[in-house]
Amino acid sequence: MNPDELHEKAQKETERQHTFRERLHCCTAAGCQSCGGEAVKKALGEAVKDGHLEQEVEVVGTGCLGLCSQGPLVRRQSDGALFSQVTPGDASPLLQADAPSLQSRRLDPTHPFFADQLRIVLENAGRVDPERVESYLAAGGYAALAVALATLKPGDVVAEVTAAGLRGRGGAGYPTGVKWQLVAKQPGDTKYVVCNADEGDPGAFMDRSVLEGDPHRVLEGMAIAGYAVGANHGYLYVRGEYALAISRLQTAIKQAEKEGLLGARVLDTSFRFQVEIRIGAGAFVCGEETALLNSIEGRRGEPRPRPPYPPEKGLWDKPTLINNVETFANIAPIITRGSAWFSSIGTARSKGTKVFAVAGKTALTGLVEVPMGTPVRTIVSRMAGGIAGGGKVKAIQTGGPSGGCIPERLLDVPVDYESLTAVGSMMGSGGLIVMDESTSMVDVARYFMEFCKDESCGKCVPCRTGTVQMHALLLKFTAGEATQADLDLLRELAELLRATSLCGLGQSAPNPMMTALTYFPNEFAARMKP
């Protein structure tokens, strides 16, 4: 396919879509599927068939519509109405304009949960059919790749990403452009692009939603990255639990190869780029970049000491670019709309948007994408509607087992890398767990330590043995049997793990506990023997 054919194909699909009076977007992401989304889609299809409306109404399976706690969700394209908790029995009413029986389940699009979002990464999720490449093309897909290949030199692409100020969305926030530059300037013909889709933080499902809802966007980002850094081979490392994401990615890769959007001659140019999927086998540590590389190579999923960093010596000792799903999903809009547009969003040092998976005790849970700089309080209280049933927020947790707890009084902290680090947590990949007054912070600390204990690969001594000891000490706290000596030892072990662990898992394992200890010392004191 050349750029003209790409345009033509997109045009054709747009025209096809316009022939329908109504298009019904059924969420078929994992969240809605688990509560019967597929059955709703099937029922809608049958209702259309029964009413002989095949020429007028199209039922489209799409990615995540956001409000996961109230699925299955269905959106009518004609009036934008979004319906929650749809059952197969609602199929025929949905085809009528007023749908009286559904009014109570019609969601208000002006609710801050929707209105306060700025969707860049998720702009296609819920709009395109992730299983049809034409649908993505009609939404402007692969235009960025075409532009990059036709008008930009690899160095220009890197410069554009650098100028956009995009930072790694996996959590650490390393400037993406700088990382690309590091790989690009490495000598040698063999380089790799790796997409880290081993999303493992408890309560986090941003990357899953992107992969399920808009897989081509990630492939396009990877291809652009490959062109920019001089790599012809990409690996998508997806955790094995994401069966739906894997199947949609497989479909997407097949379609993209068939259309010449990936493969030996990408968009009829001399640029060659292939993407392979590697499926994880349930190890959290494989989300750590060097352990991920080991896993792709077929070795034990254990981290390697850095330096050397992957841009110098990565997959099979070749220069390797590793970015997270959300980072790659940001690339295409940066190329099509320009770095100036992207860098106009966000704060001085954190540009663009961030997707959060809001989970926990809030009234609404699901995916939100907000501009950087949005106060956490806005997300928790305004968008997610505060605590369900009107309780009081006690603390939130971001960054998963590597992040920390932020108490209610600090919730005005803006969402950006530096601010979240300053309060002892971290941006992390985007999990945001909200806790109310009924949650014990000692239990939270113990839970995350147990997670780290079970997920430690065991390679290095401090992480393997230290997490076991810290978990045992925290159990003494939950049992109300801890002493001052236990607390001192806990702190000393925390310091040891931070300073001496081989990889980020061990280094950050004490974080949830230490922030809980800092902000809620009384809760720990209350669990100590007098």
Binding site: K453, K459, R464, V468
Partner: protein
């Protein structure tokens, strides 16, 4: 070969590009504590005993895996490092079942020696008393997992030096353990050449020769030097 000049513990030393801080320090008679490193084997940086401070680097670096650079300033024995090493040792001693009094390596054990050197007089963390297996199925050698510290010297030796790859690690975290041939009894291993190299490199009494008393079970690693030297210079071919 480019020569790098650096400072380790205030001493000016030189090394060749590609050398590790550990190697260069070793040649300069600076003895950095270690458990997983063994000259001649590829390094993994797992035991964290050889962590050193390098000026200009925010994190502690494993000396065995840090290449020397020109002008590098390294400190191998600071208050902080001593404190970390001591606690690491306590964690190791509490993790397994290290009972010197009944161990065939008593008196010739690297773990024991290092614990003494680090001044570990008692263990503050809780002993785990794990239930671990002993494998005596091999005709000549024995494996007592209670004494294993998961340094993987045996794994690397068997794979890289002997080329048999009998040993591997299974499980993860606190369930990490050594296995022969994907979890077979060692004696049933078809890959094992019975060379005994793994026994010689083991820092503790986890791998031992059957029938030897405490006075006899002394490990000799000189073979590593000759094999690796010969291989690097292609002194034989297959």
């Amino acid at each position: 070969m480019s020569v790098k000049t650096l400072t380790i513990d205030g001493k000016m030393v030189t090394g060749v590009a590609g050398d590790s801080v550990f190697t260069v320090a070793h040649h300069a008679d600076i003895d950095i504590p270690r458990l997983c490193h063994l000259g001649g084997l590829p390094d993994v940086g797992a035991c964290r005993m050889c962590l050193v401070e390098v000026e200009g680097r925010p994190r502690l670096q494993a000396a065995c895996m840090t290449e020397v650079t020109e002008g590098m300033v390294v400190r191998t024995d600071t208050e902080v490092l001593r404190k970390h090493r001591k606690l690491l040792m306590e964690l190791l001693l509490a993790e397994g079942n290290h009972v010197c009094a009944v161990c065939v390596s008593n008196g010739h054990c690297e773990l024991q020696d290092l614990a003494a050197r680090l001044g570990v007089e008692h263990v503050r963390v809780a002993y785990q008393h794990p239930r671990r297996a002993v494998d005596l199925s091999h005709p000549r050698f024995g494996l007592d997992l209670n004494r294993c510290i998961a340094c993987t010297r045996c794994v690397r030796t068997c794979d890289e030096v002997e080329g048999a790859h009998v040993w591997d690690m299974a499980g993860r975290g606190h369930t990490l353990h050594l296995v022969a041939d994907l979890g077979e009894p060692w004696g049933a291993s078809e890959n094992c050449t019975q060379c005994g190299k793994c026994v010689q490199v083991c820092p503790t009494g986890a791998l031992f020769t059957k029938g030897l008393g405490v006075g006899e079970m002394q490990k000799d690693r000189s073979f590593l030097k000759y094999i690796v030297y010969g291989r690097e210079r292609h002194q034989w071919s297959r």
